[in-house]
């Protein structure tokens, strides 16, 4: 028992210690990333907005993440609802193939997309990155939305129809409100994934880098490393915040539907 506990503690340290170092060095007033710490400063944070290329990459990343979140959630809603409501031929293999990018190595997705896009003669840019990101985010959205649609009592929609609503107004008045926590959760998760994603963005981004790609490019300049640390701190904090929000939404959805919580991402 005791060795198991030690293992668990070591595991958690291994997992989170590097991330914990990020804010420590972000507030350290030395350009060299090494202990001992020399002093406290917020200088690296104030330097951030003074780098135009950085601001551009943040804008680019936000634009890509927002569009990716909306598109992959929309696609996820369609797929999850179809899977929950209808039975059709080859349903299981079709759903399986949609979910595959979840476990496919991103480098494979990135390289094959790059090859095809170049073959088609398309120029690289924000939209090609969005395409790649939608591909990997949609399975996450389906996984989140699927449980919401599966948990939806089919009698709910029938009751609305029975009370005189059309299928469309039923979807608007009953289905959407009941799955809305899952929809928000899917939006937040796909937004986070897209914002942090590096490999696909690196291959498909063209001349306008996304934030992770820009960060990577700055690692060549040692003087920039504390600034990168500061930015990383902001990103980590933002990601954690969004994930907590997404998880809260998921639990709220379960409570609304009067269901027991049976696991989830957090």
């Amino acid at each position: 028992m005791k060795s198991l506990r030690t293992y668990a503690i070591l595991y958690l340290i291994f997992l989170y210690a590097p991330i914990a170092l990020l804010p420590i060095f972000a507030f350290n007033d030395a350009t060299i990333i090494a202990f001992p710490l020399t002093g406290f400063t917020t200088q690296w944070f104030t330097e951030l907005p003074q780098i135009p290329a950085l601001i551009d990459s943040v804008k680019n990343s936000l634009y890509i993440a927002v569009i990716t979140a909306i598109l992959s959630t929309l696609l996820g809603i369609c797929a999850a609802r179809a899977a929950a409501k209808y039975s059709f031929r080859f349903k299981r293999p079709i759903m399986g193939f949609i979910m595959v990018p979840l476990v496919l190595p991103e480098i494979i997705v990135a390289v094959s997309l790059l090859v095809i896009l170049l073959q088609l003669g398309l120029s690289l840019g924000a939209w090609t990155v969005i395409m790649g990101h939608v591909l990997i985010c949609t399975p996450f959205c389906i996984a989140i939305l699927n449980s919401a649609f599966q948990n939806l009592d089919p009698a709910m929609e029938e009751a609305a129809i029975d009370l005189g609503e059309t299928p469309w107004s039923t979807f608007r008045l009953v289905t959407l409100p009941l799955v809305s926590p899952a929809i928000i959760s899917a939006l937040l998760i796909s937004f986070t994934i897209s914002l942090d994603e590096f490999i696909i963005a690196f291959f498909l981004t063209g001349t306008e880098p996304t934030l992770p790609v820009y960060l990577w490019s700055q690692l060549r300049f040692p003087a920039r490393i504390p600034v990168v640390m500061a930015l990383g701190t902001i990103l980590v904090a933002g990601s954690i915040l969004l994930l907590i929000l997404a998880e809260m939404m998921r639990r709220r959805g379960l409570r609304r539907a009067g269901l027991q919580d049976k696991g989830g991402f957090l």
Partner: protein
């Protein structure tokens, strides 16, 4: 009189599965009608066909004289109380009850008044502001009722509405539903697998097995004169004894354990032929004869094989000579009536009018 609901030769197939087999059914205005049967007998499919959630594979359905072929559920004069109640959890009680009024040509005040009246009718006065997910099972059911009745449908369809409630509450809701039905005068069609519930509440009951209506009758006829052994077995408790038809015209029988007996025409199915058959008798239609009690015409000797004491009743399993298995007799426990012990001998009294003959 034309029937409010008229089904003619309705069939429903799910692939190879024949869920409804040639259903012919007429239900009158103002009737409390039950569809009774074990799970998988097609009773819910039939209800959903009337509601418009399932389309019959062939046959016709008319409601109030109008052909329902191609009429979607949202355009039918029917409303439904679902087994899960399907209360919208994101809406308040008042919003749930008033859901069907969204498109009604009424002012806000009129709608609110309607909601108040509907809630009052189901005994939920003052619940309008409550959140739907904070209701108990019984309250949910009342909200579902109010929500379905607010549109004043011609037919209210109830899909096993009481099955999720505990026994006490269920019994209370049974009488309340009955009272409500008399009050509003709307035709109620209830789906249930609980035979007691069907007998208590209904004007008429259709017993269904394997997609077919086995018997359609009022509760008393159903209980006293089941047309098949299966119906008799499904509703209440019934003893079955092998019998031989001696004379088909006079209906002279030789019943194992009970001996020679003649029954009336209404106790036998039509078209009986001499030979092997079966006789059924209810436990309360036989009694153990105690000192000073009048007999019911026929007397048979028996030995107590087993006994179950229920407080107000005692159920005896008695061995009767020539009967292939023990017969169950129920006796009310009354002043001066002892509870017999296993092994005691007793005289069993019965009436030839209580027998029902089934073709083998």
């Amino acid at each position: 009189m034309t029937a409010l609901i008229d089904l003619k030769n309705v069939n429903k197939y799910y692939g190879d599965y024949h869920a409804l087999r040639g259903i012919n059914l007429e239900i009158a205005q103002g009737e409390f009608f039950s569809l009774l049967g074990p799970s998988g007998c097609g009773k819910t499919t039939l209800l959903r066909t009337i509601a418009g959630f399932e389309a019959p594979s062939d046959g016709t359905l008319h409601i109030a004289g109008a052909d329902m072929n191609g009429v979607p559920a949202n355009a039918r004069p029917t409303n439904m109380v679902f087994q899960s109640y399907a209360i919208f959890p994101h809406l308040s009680v008042a919003e749930n009850v008033g859901f069907g009024l969204r498109k009604a040509q009424m002012s806000k005040q009129e709608k609110m008044k309607s909601v108040e009246e509907a809630l009052d009718m189901v005994g939920l006065k003052g619940f309008r502001g409550r959140a739907a997910h904070a209701l108990s099972g019984g309250q949910r059911q009342r909200v579902a009722l109010a929500r379905a009745l607010i549109l004043k449908p011609k037919v209210l369809l109830l899909d096993e509405p009481l099955s999720a409630l505990d026994k006490k509450l269920r019994e209370q809701m049974q009488s309340e539903l009955r009272r409500l039905q008399r009050q509003v005068g709307i035709t109620f069609i209830l789906v249930t697998h609980d035979q007691e519930e069907a007998l208590i509440m209904s004007d008429r009951v259709a017993v269904m097995f394997e997609g077919e209506i086995a018997q359609l009758a009022d509760p008393q006829t159903l209980y006293k004169r089941p047309v098949t052994r299966k119906v008799g077995d499904f509703i209440g408790v019934m003893n079955f004894l092998p019998a031989t038809v001696k004379d088909a015209a006079a209906i002279d029988l030789d019943v194992a354990g009970l001996g020679a007996v003649t029954i009336a025409e209404d106790q036998a199915p039509s078209g009986i032929t001499p030979g092997a058959a079966e006789v059924g008798i209810r436990p309360e239609m036989m009694s153990i004869l105690f000192e000073g009690e009048p007999d019911r015409g026929q007397i048979t000797q028996a030995t107590i094989k087993d006994r179950a004491y229920y407080g107000d009743m005692t159920y005896y399993d008695v061995d009767i000579e020539d009967a292939p298995k023990p017969i169950t007799i129920s006796m009310k426990n009354m002043i001066g009536r002892p509870v017999l012990e296993v092994g005691d001998t007793a005289r069993v009294s019965w009436d030839a009018r209580s027998l029902v003959l089934f073709s083998a």
